[in-house]
Symmetry: C2
Subunit: 430 residues, 2 copies
């Protein structure tokens, strides 16, 4: 299974590497499982229900979109959502200590718990106008696609399986989670899988957070973000000239960083995004800092670039302390981890990917595997088989104020069926 | 005389180098001039007046200190000061277009104009408590020494020469000038000598802006300050990775800058004081900037470090544009000159330095020549003989909130006599 390797001053960064592992709840071929589900009486009942449930899906999508859910301020939406989960008849419905809204649909027993998550948060700050603008079936509002449609879809799926009295082998934990976007840093799912009360029970993981349903995200682009603060004694630019200067150390670190070699494939990137520090042109700064972002599709490459980065920061600091006077104090650099989206991968051959693939094929969709940064990064990194699937619907302009999603009836109904089938097949239908 | 040498994008930076030149108003040896003045009836009358004028000097020092005069906000103090100059009986009293308060004391004719300046401004921002705290003769308040005592001293000198009806060969222009401190960048004296109505008449220059009166500043430490803005196309740290990054160009420029070799003697320094830029950790910045300070006692060394700096900025930009993609735009760097204190020197052998030296010796003070950054930098750079002399009084903590000066009667009275004698000897007494 995956293991932690710690970097310089970095608390056990889980550089992953997953893993062929993963227990399949049953030995049946995924295609036949999917075929059996789609041929069942319950499936016919669920499908009929989904058709009648369309208006409610649309109304809930609008209602949820219009409850603002900025990063770290998802409380209002979580409160509304947990009530909706309760109304579907789930059990153990609650908001956990991190702010995730969750509830369980009990299985017949014998299968490991499956977590199905969709994130509540949006990238839009407080005060953003979230009123939905309708043009026919094209609905526009900040966050309506990413990921309010995902959480609305999850409610529609739960209602459909409840209406058809579908039984699953595994318990299914449905979660509207916090903290997927930006500085949220996947905090909702990190809590769920590392500290939450189901942390030892969740053995498979499905995130609903993507557009086209033919697309299966089975790899997580990992990222590491640091704020590195360089401190020194400071002083007058003329009178104290010759003392170590933290801006020189930082400049040298940036110059070294800029010369790193990273592979184009697997895609690996690095960035200096923000620099700041110093008080006046004629003072040696006492403190400067830089914000650094590194990402890779490959855990091994992310580990390499991270180690190189931490080493070159240290090297730049040592050089500055070596060439100028430290009589008033040394330069010290503190690389503080401000973002850690663990990398990971669920192999194409794993049962969960094969099951999702079988569903995509059964619905005649165009299959595509992708690597991205979603809530699934966390379980992938921990060796828990995970995929991120689509919420359906054409849409666009995610993270922009004119974000939109199309709730055309046919497409919307099919999207619920696709997601339901993936969840049922992964959870196992006796 | 001194000549301009322009740097990259720098508008005719006057890298100096003065000059033995300077017309002495008379061929007499400075020592005998000083001796003659001190032996005159008028000197005895002036000295007696200075004794009686002590209380007024102290009261004016307090009154002027308590009129705030932050950089670029010297108006209130200039207005009060110009009225004080008018009360002394000067002619052509006015506030010029830059904000300097000035007036002329006519000479008998035949000598070139002498400018006597003392700066009005302080380093303290709006809202600073400038109430004078008295402990015996130890007066404390922000700016009370540097340079409010200088402007109060100038008033006392004018009153004394008026009271004694001292005649001088040269016209003497008395100026309470703006913009000596920090970002003022010597703007008051720059205007006076480059654009003001006396710019072609001023042929000798005395600044009152120092402590001990044995100290004669005859060299100006030059400084050049830049804000260099590095601009690029910006983009997403992951999606647009591979595009040029202005933070990388700036980091490389800082690293190169940090490795410059400058001489310890003549003292030459360089600094990165402030860095800023970028909007988020996961965006390639569209703009970053750095504030740079370079100084030298030597015009030639300042020119060298400036040229090296401008070349390395260009080199760092070219390198970044060479190693990453410019398909969305190139990195461009714009070094904007934000400070220019011209360097310069008045030779020890020049009549003005010899005259000030003779006065220092005549009063039995300990002679010291220094190199500093004062309003005299400007005339020195233009080849106008200039010295900066002391305002007298023990004092300390200049530029700190607890700045103080001691107005002990004996020392205060002598300080007025010393400054008066320097001014009279330079202006020539028939």
């Amino acid at each position: 299974m995956s293991r932690s390797i710690s970097g310089w001053r970095v608390l056990s960064l889980a550089f992953c590497c997953v893993v062929t592992a993963a227990v399949s709840p049953r030995a049946q071929a995924p295609d036949s499982v999917v075929q059996r589900i789609r041929a069942s009486t319950q499936y016919a009942q669920a499908s009929a229900f989904i058709e009648t449930d369309y208006d409610r899906f649309v109304n809930e999508l609008i209602a949820l979109t219009e409850i603002p859910a900025p990063q770290f301020k998802e409380q209002a939406r979580a409160k509304a959502y947990v009530e909706m989960l309760r109304q579907q008849g789930l059990v153990d419905v609650e908001i956990d200590a991190e702010g995730n809204a969750l509830g369980v649909r009990k299985g017949t027993g014998g299968g490991p718990m499956v977590a199905v998550v969709a994130h509540l948060d949006t990238v839009f700050p407080d005060g953003t106008d979230v009123k939905v603008k309708r043009q026919g079936t094209r609905f526009a509002a900040p966050g309506i696609g990413d990921n309010t449609r995902g959480i609305a879809l999850m409610l529609a799926v739960i209602r459909a399986v409840q209406a058809a009295k579908f039984q699953t082998t595994s318990d299914v934990l449905f979660v509207g989670n916090v903290g997927e976007e930006g500085e949220g840093d996947l905090r909702g799912v990190k809590f769920l899988l590392r500290q939450g009360k189901y942390k030892d029970r969740i053995k498979q993981f499905i995130a609903i957070d993507g557009g086209e349903q033919g697309n299966i995200t089975r790899g997580g682009v990992g990222s590491l973000r640091y704020r590195v603060i360089f401190k020194g004694p400071g002083g007058h630019s003329y009178g104290a000239f010759g003392l170590v200067n933290p801006a020189f150390a930082m400049g040298s670190a940036i110059a070294k960083f800029s010369r790193l070699n990273v592979p184009i494939e697997p895609r690996t990137t690095f960035n200096i995004g923000v620099v700041r520090g110093g008080t006046s042109v004629n003072s040696i700064p006492a403190e400067v800092s830089m914000d650094v972002d590194m990402r890779s599709e490959s855990c091994a490459e992310l580990k390499k670039v991270n180690e190189a980065f931490l080493a070159l920061v240290k090297h730049a600091v040592d050089e500055e302390n070596g060439v100028r006077s430290t009589r008033e104090g040394k330069i010290e650099a503190d690389p503080k981890l401000i973002g850690d989206r663990p990398c990971g991968e669920t192999p194409a051959s794993s049962p969960i990917v094969q099951t999702a693939t079988a569903v995509v094929k059964a619905f005649g969709l165009t299959l595509n595997y992708s690597i991205s940064s979603t809530d699934s990064n966390v379980p992938m990194n921990m060796g828990i088989p995970a995929v991120t699937i689509g919420r359906g619907g054409p849409g666009g302009r995610a993270h922009a104020p004119d974000e939109w999603t199309d709730v055309d009836r046919k497409g919307s109904v099919e999207a619920v069926k696709v997601a339901m089938t993936v969840i049922l097949a992964v959870a196992g239908v006796p």
